[in-house]
Symmetry: C2
Subunit: 113 residues, 2 copies
DNA sequence: CTGTATCCTAAGGGATACTG
DNA sequence: CAGTATCCCTTAGGATACAG
């Protein structure tokens, strides 16, 4: 694998690029929370246990920039904003499921629960 | 999903546990470099482009502790040490391949190369 | 050849408070 | 309801040097 540049930084392999899209503690849980369809901010916050406002908003902005989700604002009062997976976001779900499955295997393996 | 404790820290979901096994910048590239069989330190270092001694040794120790790889020392001169995937390590390869595939898709998508 | 140890920086992420 | 802004701390990871 040759190195490559993308948006101002150097990557050494495809896995690093994947990390920038779905890496970190919170991106995957948020994407999973969107798998069933449109979800609004407050619901998202409740669904993704323990996430702070700061991390939720920063993850949402980042995923939006990377075209993994869309953000739709409804001109209502109080305001309603809904988030939804794009085609690329849906594609990532398969990968995340794989990670998730491995995690469940590890839980069994280690006798947790 | 309920929270759970494992080796002294709290996890909120299976994905966090997976991260602790194969997360970070280097664990996956190192595991991939071992997929074909036993590999010794120097070869590993060359195979995993750009990794420093510090990160390589720290990743190897961590993976060993988590039973993802084994370390075998041969009493030769100069010393020879070989690393190899365990069954659990081999299981992780499927997951990593999935991440890797997504990365290759992203590369195409973004017109890199 | 196969590591260890030390120092240092950047970035991820928690806590808290505030706003249209 | 749906964010933003600010402060702070921890940890991943780079650079460098040294050792059996």
């Amino acid at each position: 694998m040759k190195d490559f540049k993308f948006e101002g930084r150097v990557y050494y392999n495809p896995i690093e690029l994947t990390h920038s899209y779905i890496g970190g503690t919170w991106k995957m849980p948020v994407l999973l929370a969107l798998r069933k369809g449109s979800v609004r901010y407050t619901v998202l916050k409740k669904t993704v246990a323990h996430i702070s406002d700061k991390m939720l908003y920063s993850v949402l902005r980042d995923l939006e920039k990377k075209d993994m989700i869309t953000r739709t604002v409804f001109a209502e009062k109080p305001p309603r904003v809904e988030y939804r997976l794009t085609a690329l976001g849906r594609k990532s779900i398969k990968v995340i499921d794989s990670l998730h499955g491995f995690g469940e295997y590890l839980i069994k393996l280690n006798g947790i629960f």
